[in-house]
């Protein structure tokens, strides 16, 4: 019985403890070594487990301890390491370690250095708990824990009320999803008596289906996933979450935490294979989210907001893949997305760093010569997300498009069409970002332009590593590796001959996006301004993100405030509670005011009153008894 998995999980926790408790006193060098060393150790241990998994073949299972024992039910904290967890753990620890290293340079000047690394390590701990937990219960602890870490890191600069508010928004929106998740868990436990995910899958794949609607459970769990993975209608928190430090956006809000929903659905594929309705819901939500988020990203002017909506959109793609049964492909996209989106976010961080905090792409431009490393890596990652071969995004996205078209589990030409359109938009808005940020004439003011500098090597090096991964990540055959665990869905035989034409088409689409961006934003970008003027109405809707925040505010926030104000505050609190209490307090005050005159402070008088009272009592009892 080894303890490698336990050590993987506990290493970041140790980092959190050390940095959180004594880090601030021991200086930045200590914090940096602990903060990056322990995630690196976790990564190394993951590689060891990975080798053990490959030589042994069977999933590694470690029981950490028994959490609770209720009657015959036992709730163990167990770690489960199969090929799916292996891929996720490698992403989490690998990309996580890189982003920790990047943070060394990025957060150098911040006074909350130790606190930052403590939170980051805490996040890693909970994320590993999430992907390694065998039971849904352990997964849920990690699920909530990453939410907590995300909240802490979004509101990292809590002195700014706007940023603290963004943290709260993320927390509250996630709670809505968690309610669904919890209900799903209860239902599963009620029907099966276990929360171990491999056992649940086995139960659904067994001869007799469990006495619970797979679609209902699937939809409930998916509600949880929409919260964590920012799908419509719970996507509103992710763009606001960009208030946190940029490496946090890269790690939590792009590469790892937001993919937890995808991991959950893939992990529970046993249920979704038997839940046609739930799968359709997943596909629809994913597709709608992917498309709408992409349209919003087209007009955003904040470099991080563009990337945030791009993340939402890419997550939509993953859910489309999940919905049509291509679970392995979804995880493949999670992997490649982790590489190129982390690279993009960190590149954006490098740009922001270079410009001294500026995030508005209208005030950038012409940065390519000034910060060449950032530029080159950013372009590689952009090409990867746009789907230009042979970079990583091309492979995963093309597979998603193919299965959206041809899967016999709900693939359809319409699905493919919308997804391809989204891919076109993706390519367009990403290259638009490149043009606005790095190319064309500089729109910076004098002072900012003077200070532009390339980032230190702790940041640049990480960018280069991630750019290389974005370039070659597509050759890691994740779907093939996961085939035994998550088989690809059957494909309509009649459509097989279309595979190559579609492949060519998706390459054409990627280059079309590139061309459109070059056409509109090349040179002085005058054509873009004219376009904007012509479609002013559409532009306004997109800039305001379809007014979804406003609609939520009007339909949910407004009535809630009204009820709180009129019913609970005025009637309930002030009239009933305060009235009763004040009335009672007033009565007591008046009575006490009268009685206090008796309280002269003279011991003799008190004793005399005792005597008189005793006599009175005696006389009364003698005359009555």
């Amino acid at each position: 019985m080894t303890t490698v998995l336990t050590l993987i999980v506990l290493a970041p926790l140790a980092g959190f403890m050390l940095n959180g408790l004594i880090g601030a006193r021991l200086g930045n060098r200590f914090v940096g070594v602990v903060g990056c060393g322990l995630p690196l150790a976790a990564f190394a241990l993951t590689l060891v487990s990975f080798r053990a998994l490959e030589t042994g073949g069977a999933p590694l299972i470690e029981t950490f301890y028994t959490w609770a024992r209720i009657g015959p039910r036992v709730f163990d904290v167990e770690f489960y390491f199969d090929r799916l967890s292996a891929v996720m753990t490698l992403i989490v620890t690998g990309v996580g370690t890189l982003i920790h290293v990047y943070s060394l340079g990025y957060m150098k000047e911040d006074k909350g250095y130790a606190r930052y690394f403590a939170y980051l390590n805490l996040f890693l701990f909970f994320m590993l708990l999430l992907v390694l937990g065998r039971s849904l219960l352990v997964l849920f602890v990690g699920w909530e824990g990453v939410g907590l870490a995300s909240y802490l890191l979004i509101g990292f600069w809590f002195e700014d009320p706007e940023k603290a508010r963004a943290g709260k928004k993320a927390f509250v929106v996630n709670r809505i999803g968690d309610a669904g998740f919890l209900l799903g868990m209860f239902l599963l436990f009620w029907a099966l008596g276990t929360l171990d995910m491999d056992r649940i899958n086995a139960a659904f794949n067994g001869a007799a289906l469990p006495a619970v609607s797979a679609s209902l459970v699937g939809i409930l769990l998916f509600i949880g996933a929409t919260g964590k993975s920012a799908q419509i209608p719970l996507h509103v928190w992710l763009p606001d979450a960009m208030a946190g430090p940029t490496p946090v956006s890269a790690l939590i809000h792009a590469a790892t935490m937001v993919t937890a929903g995808v991991y959950l659905v893939a992990r529970m594929s046993g249920i979704y294979l038997h839940a046609e309705v739930a799968s359709q819901v997943v596909t629809t939500i994913g597709l709608v989210t992917a498309f709408f988020a992409a349209t919003i990203a087209v007009v955003q002017t904040d470099i991080k907001k563009v990337l945030a909506y791009s993340t939402v959109s890419q997550l939509g793609f993953m859910f489309v893949a999940l919905g049509v049964g291509a679970y392995g492909v979804a995880i493949f996209h999670v992997t490649t997305h982790a590489f190129f989106k982390a690279c993009l976010f960190l590149g954006a961080g490098s740009v922001i760093h270079a410009l001294g905090g500026e995030q508005d792409i209208r005030k950038m431009g012409g940065l390519a010569r000034r910060i060449p490393v950032t530029f080159v890596t950013f372009v590689v990652a952009t090409a990867a997300i746009a789907g230009i071969p042979p970079l990583a995004g091309f492979f995963s996205k093309d597979e998603i498009l193919w299965f959206a078209f041809a899967s016999s589990r709900g693939g359809a030409p319409l699905l493919w069409l919308v997804a391809t359109l989204t891919a076109l938009l993706t390519s367009f808005y990403m290259f638009r970002l490149v043009w606005r940020t790095f190319l064309g004439a500089s729109r910076m003011d004098e002072k900012t332009a003077h200070h532009v500098h390339e980032s230190p090597w702790s940041m640049g090096g990480v960018l280069v590593v991630l750019a290389m991964l974005s370039a070659i990540g597509g050759f890691i055959a994740v779907p093939h590796y996961l085939e035994a665990l998550l088989p690809a869905p059957p494909v309509e035989q009649a459509l097989h001959h279309l595979e190559t034409p579609l492949l060519v088409l998706s390459v054409v689409v990627a280059f079309a996006g590139l061309a459109a961006a070059a056409f509109l934003y090349g040179g002085t970008a005058a054509r873009a301004a004219r376009m904007e003027a012509r479609f002013a109405g559409l532009h306004r809707i997109l800039t305001h993100k379809y007014y979804i925040d406003e609609i939520y505010e009007r339909c949910l926030g407004g009535p809630l405030v009204w009820i709180s104000e009129h019913v609970f505050l005025r009637t309930g609190d002030r009239l009933l509670l305060d009235g009763t209490l004040n009335g009672m307090a007033g009565l007591a005050q008046r009575v006490a005011g009268g009685l206090s005159r008796l309280q002269s402070g003279s011991l003799h008088r008190y004793a005399f009153l005792v005597l008189a009272g005793a006599v009175a009592c005696l006389a009364w009892s003698l005359s009555h008894v």
Partner: protein, 100 residues
């Protein structure tokens, strides 16, 4: 008038005199001693009844009263000392700080 009645009357007289002493004497220590006298009166009645009925419950209660009396004096004396430290007098009329 038999012995029992005499003893009970004595017990009541001690109690009444003790209470009277608490009321009319101004010295804090004397007041404390008068309270002891009250306890003694109660003790006497308990012992009398216990002896009269041949049961031990009364005597047990007397023992408990001993403990209570000792505890009372052990805490009352330090309080008196503390009070005197502040105002340099044993006059109960001087301590009306708790006037309502």
């Amino acid at each position: 008038m038999d012995r029992l009645q005499i003893l009970l009357l004595l017990a009541m007289a001690l109690f009444a005199v003790g209470l009277l002493g608490v009321i009319i004497r101004r010295n804090l220590l004397v007041m404390l001693m008068c309270m002891e006298l009250m306890l003694n009166g109660v003790n006497l009645s308990l012992v009398t009844f216990a002896q009269q009925t041949g049961t031990e419950a009364g005597a047990v209660l007397v023992f408990l009263i001993f403990v209570v009396a000792a505890a009372e004096i052990a805490i009352a004396i330090p309080i008196v000392l503390l009070l005197v430290q502040g105002k340099r007098t044993l006059d109960a009329d001087a301590y009306t700080d708790l006037k309502g």
